[in-house]
Every structure is written in structure tokens, then in C-alpha cells.
Symmetry: C2
């Protein structure tokens, strides 16, 4: 669209590639950014680059963090014998927001999906099995209640059961097809309390 | 919110300050960016900085552009004797999209708003009057039909009238495809008053 000059159009296109940002929002963001002070723009891009360069997976639970071991794994107050398995860092944050879970986590970074070509080898399952060699009492599977999440839960329960460790799945109570990150805290807690052994 | 580590939280806050980006969207954007390749993130921040550094106002019409004179003002095919006055660069782009206007523009960069403390001196009005010293046949005022836009239109028409140059205002009425029953009374009355003979 040549009524915007090259660099503005490029900025709009680049912003429009972000998730949930359509052409109109991208335009609005672009002109907002062009209207910001030089320092504010520098601050924004520095923050993006700084986060990208310094955020990596926690060596224990694989949540995205900027320290070597995330604050949850490093904490003395958390019960290391209970591991909740979640699909991604946002799901972990959703459970942390409840403030009632005192175990630790394991972030898979995805769910098994033959449709998208995501196999068990593509998510942090091997790493979970390594952690289970230490003293663990229970693995709570808190993958999403989507098809992929359920399949992943089944897969994990089959993997873990031979080790003799208790495996549970957060209760349904979460609407089918819902994403953990969008669900209210009360429902999240109900699902936690109502978990059933697999 | 300490369940995200510092740099992630900072990134979310920074993104959340953009217009139309709430906390949830900011989270989604942040994790999307963290999941992008290093090159893609560098590309995004470079595009932002490049646009910010190189985009400025056209010396003629004050639209945001990356060249000294914008392509519209530089074009031989545009009628320089007709100037359409718009509030911002996006409004100019909206009219350019119609492809039927062959005059040039003047971008005010705002509208007079006592509420927001925006006075006539804060928008590019002095610059408009300077342009009107050259041969100009008509000034078309295409500010928004908001309170501020209407006030600005009145102000400009009073400024321009003594020069003897024709001043017009884009028509206000029912949008094409609009249902009468869904349109507010002020617009209905304006459409009635502005009726044209067939």
C-alpha cells in the first residue's frame, strides 16, 4: 500500500505479524510508536532485546526465566516431591496466581499433536522422566483440556505409572477446549482439589 | 506479579503500555516474542528503531514520511491548488485508499481541544496559512466529525475566509450501507439538512 512511505509500511507489516494484531491495530501501534519519544522507543526495543537475550529455560523445570534456576525451584518453601506438569510458562503463571499450590512444576513447552507434527520427543518429556528418578511422590498433569492436552496427559500417565509414582490429572471442571490461562482462579482451584488418580 | 521473572514481567509491562494492548494481550505478545528466532526479534526491533529514526514530517504537507518531501507532494500528477486538511496521517491514508482524490493534503497532527489543552498553536495551522499564500483554489476541511474535529473545522474556515480562498467541509450524513434505524439523531438531522437535489 503505497500511501504509506516504505519505512512506515515496513513497520506496520512487521507489527501486523504479531499474534492478535491485524492491519488496523498494526497501523495504530505504528503511529503510536512514531509519536513516542526517542527514549521511550529505545526503552521498548531494549526491553525486547534484553528479554530475548536473557530469558531461557530454568534448568530444573524449564519455565522461562532470567535466572539459572527459577524462583520457584530455588525456593525452600516449595514441596519438591510434587510436580505439576503444564504445557507452557503462561499455564504455570495461571496456577501460581491461585497462590495455593506449593509444589513445583515441569513445563513441557507444548503438547503432543500429530496434526502439527509435535511428537513426544519434541516436548520436555525425557527431562520429566529424569526428574522422576529423584524422590517424587506425585505427578499432577495439568495440560490443557484440549484434544492435544488430553492425549499428552494419557501419554504421560502411561510413562509414569511403571515407576510407581502416583499420577493424577486436574479435574474436569475446566470447560472442554478451554485454555488454562483464561480460566478464573476458583475454577482452577476446584480442578486442583478434584484431581483423580489415573 | 512475581510469578514471572523480572525481565519477562518488564517486557509484559512495556508491551502493555501500547494502545489497545491489555495485560492478557501483552502476555501473549511477550511469550510470542520470546519464542521467535533471534533474527526475527532483531528484525522487529531494528524496524522499529529505523522507522523512528528516519520517519519525520513532509516539509510541505506534514504527513509522516521517510523522504524529505512525501510522494504525494512530490508527484507531478496531483493538483496543488486543492488542499485537503486532515487531522493525522491515518486519515490521509484513508482518503488515499479511495484513489479518487487528486489534490494534495495538509496534516494538522491533532485537533483543537480545550479539554486536552490542545490550542490552535499546537497543531499545524500556522503552516497551513503559509501554504495558502501560494496559488490555492480550495481548502477542503476533512477533520473528524467529533466535537474537536468540528471545532477545528469552524476555526479553520474563519481563518481562511478572509483570504478569499474557497473553503469547504466534507459532507456529514448517513454512511453508505448504513441502516437509518441504527444511526444517531444528530447524523440523521445533518443528513436531512444537507440533502441534495436529485
Amino acid at each position: 500500500m503505497d500511501y504509506y512511505s516504505g519505512k512506515i509500511d515496513k513497520l506496520i507489516s512487521e507489527l501486523g505479524r504479531l499474534p492478535g494484531v491485524g492491519r488496523k491495530s498494526a497501523q495504530r501501534l505504528a503511529f503510536h510508536i512514531l509519536g513516542m519519544s526517542d527514549e521511550a522507543v529505545k526503552g521498548l526495543t531494549d526491553t525486547i532485546l534484553d528479554a530475548k537475550q536473557n530469558v531461557h529455560c530454568c534448568k530444573e523445570c524449564f519455565v522461562l526465566t532470567d535466572s539459572e534456576i527459577c524462583p520457584i525451584c530455588a525456593s525452600q518453601g516449595r514441596n519438591k516431591r510434587v510436580i505439576m506438569v503444564v504445557e507452557n510458562s503462561r499455564d504455570l503463571a495461571a496456577y501460581e496466581k491461585t497462590g495455593k499450590y506449593d509444589g513445583v512444576y515441569h513445563v513441557l513447552h507444548g503438547a503432543i499433536s500429530p496434526m502439527l507434527g509435535i511428537t513426544p520427543a519434541d516436548i520436555k518429556l525425557k527431562e520429566l522422566m529424569v526428574r522422576l528418578r529423584q524422590d517424587v511422590d506425585e505427578v499432577i498433569i495439568a495440560t490443557n483440556s484440549s484434544v492435544e492436552g488430553e492425549a499428552t496427559a494419557m501419554y504421560i500417565s502411561k510413562l509414569v505409572r511403571p515407576t510407581g509414582i502416583k499420577v493424577s490429572r486436574i479435574a474436569s471442571g475446566i470447560p472442554v477446549g478451554g485454555d488454562l490461562e483464561n480460566i478464573d482462579e476458583v475454577t482452577l482451584l476446584r480442578a486442583l482439589n478434584g484431581r483423580v488418580e489415573l
